[in-house]
């Protein structure tokens, strides 16, 4: 389903004429993009592999400088023969090599990089530092570019495109108060349940592939609590109608 079709569905669910909608197109477009990126965040369903250069004598990188659409690392390989770099913590690094940050002493002409670490959404490091520039293949969960043109198709699985409509409706109704929001809040539960279902599939596939990151686990109880909380709290706090 492309963007134009998704927008049309949002307007139809809002009981608006898609040819003369009350809710402006930029608002619906933004809501769909928020749904799209949120779905990707919750499921890590988009992955790609790119090659980066590990520079000689450099232990730490800003990974978003190398991979601007980087979200989470899944697998890192390097060397000839190709070997996998294992994820590690600072404690591991300190135990392996107390000079792991030292750009002069940590490099070793014999041992290629064998570990990597990430901190925050940008810091990425390797141990050992290579003595000469080497390439590394990084498989990572990535963020897609936002939808813009009517013909753009979300890269998430097509069977979940309707989920984007559900979240977009919640996003559009959010500032209209408890009464309107209550009508679409169940759709939020459905959106999260869809994300949990696809996330479960991605998780199983990632475990089988021994990936280093797994999707955020959304529990059914948490979805139920969230949805009920929004409706109940919203209704209780709603301002009485004038008059």
């Amino acid at each position: 389903m492309n963007l134009a079709a998704l927008e049309k569905r949002v307007w139809e669910r809002l009981e608006q004429d898609p040819l003369a909608p009350v809710t402006p197109e930029p608002v619906v477009l933004h809501a769909l993009n928020q749904a799209y990126l949120t779905f990707v965040l919750l499921t890590l369903c988009l992955e790609k592999t790119a090659t980066i250069t590990l520079a000689a004598g450099k232990p730490i990188y800003g990974i978003r400088n190398l991979l601007p659409d980087y979200l989470r690392p899944l697998r890192v390989t390097s060397g000839d023969p190709v070997a996998r770099l294992r994820p590690c913590s600072f404690r591991d690094l300190d135990a392996l090599d107390t000079r792991w940050q030292d750009t002069n002493l940590s490099a070793n002409p014999v041992d290629p990089p064998s570990r990597y670490f990430t901190v925050g959404c940008n810091l990425f490091g390797v141990w050992r530092q290579p003595t000469a520039d080497v390439s590394a293949d990084v498989t990572y969960a990535y963020l897609p570019p936002p939808l813009a043109a009517g013909g753009d198709v979300p890269l998430t699985p097509e069977e979940y495109h309707e989920s984007l409509v559900k979240f977009a409706l919640v996003w559009v109704r959010l500032p209209e108060g408890a009464g309107e929001l209550a009508k679409v809040t169940p759709l939020l539960g459905e959106f999260l349940a869809d994300a949990a279902k696809l996330g479960g599939y991605v998780k199983a596939r990632s475990v089988a592939a021994a990936y280093d990151s797994l999707p955020f686990e959304i529990k059914a109880a948490d979805i139920s609590r969230l949805v009920k909380g929004i409706v109940a709290k919203g209704a209780a706090d709603a301002k009485p109608a004038a008059g």
Binding site: P24, P26, V27, H30, Q34, L37, T38, V40, L41, L42, K58, I60, Y61, G62, R64, N65, P68, L71, R72, F90, L93, D94, T98, R99, Q101, D102, L105, V119, G120, C121, N122, L123, L143, P146, V170, W171, L174, P175, E176, G177, A178, L181, T185, L188, L192, S213, F216, E217, D222, L226, G229, I230, K233, G234, A235, D237, A238, K239
Partner: protein
């Protein structure tokens, strides 16, 4: 080009920065305004302040923003040093490129009654009992060597004066910023007060906080 945090080895490319003006433009519809000039119950500066508050709240909630400070050099006989300006919590410290172990002042006192004055090559770092914004080394350094710190922090403040107008945040977490601003706007006392909308926005924002904590860990 602004970096994520002071001392970070690589700046963020422009394509990964979110402009504050883009966020405020997205916020106009949920605040029932067509333009910034149409805002009646809120000001543009308030929106910017709430954007900044939301970024800092996220930085305190999940370890998304990390930096590496390479600027500090120890001095012989000086035990404590200023932490980086946007520091929240220390993840790793090293002296002369050798890792230091975290410790409490109680632990240090139990190990050595003269820990506050004995000079040698530092083995441990501590932050308790010396106030905020400082890191202490024990033994007290006996040489001038680099003190490297990897830490969780918050990015540069987005301010109304326009000194910084971008947020180095992942695009998938931008909805969180909008939701937090919507919540703040609708809890402001006045004609715009709508706690039901604010509560719903905060509940939705919790989804992003949960995901961020799951992926990047808690802070502190």
């Amino acid at each position: 080009m602004p970096s994520l945090l002071p001392g970070e080895s690589d700046a963020n490319p422009a394509s990964t920065l979110i402009a504050q003006t883009a966020i405020t433009a997205f916020l106009l519809a949920p605040l029932h305004s067509g333009t910034l000039g149409d805002l009646v119950m809120w000001t543009e500066c308030e929106l910017i302040q709430w954007i900044d508050a939301a970024v800092k709240k996220l930085a305190r909630t999940a370890g998304i923003f990390a930096g590496r400070s390479l600027d500090t050099v120890t001095a012989q006989g000086t035990a404590t040093y200023a932490l980086p300006a946007q520091h929240i919590s220390t993840l790793h410290a090293s002296y002369d490129a050798r890792p230091l172990r975290p410790a409490s002042t109680g632990e240090l006192a139990a190990r050595d009654s003269k820990w506050q004055t004995r000079q040698d090559s530092p083995q441990r770092w501590y932050q308790d009992a010396i106030g905020l914004g400082l890191i202490g080394l024990a033994p007290v350094p006996d040489d001038a060597q680099p003190l490297w710190i990897i830490y969780h922090g918050w990015p540069q403040t987005v301010d109304c004066a326009g000194a910084n107008t971008t947020v180095p945040l992942l695009a998938c977490l931008e909805p969180y910023i909008e939701l937090e601003v919507i919540a703040a706007a609708y809890t402001k006392e006045g004609d715009g007060y709508a706690p039901d909308i604010a509560q719903a926005a905060r509940s939705l924002a919790g989804i992003y906080e949960g995901a961020a904590r799951a992926y990047w860990g808690p802070v502190g």
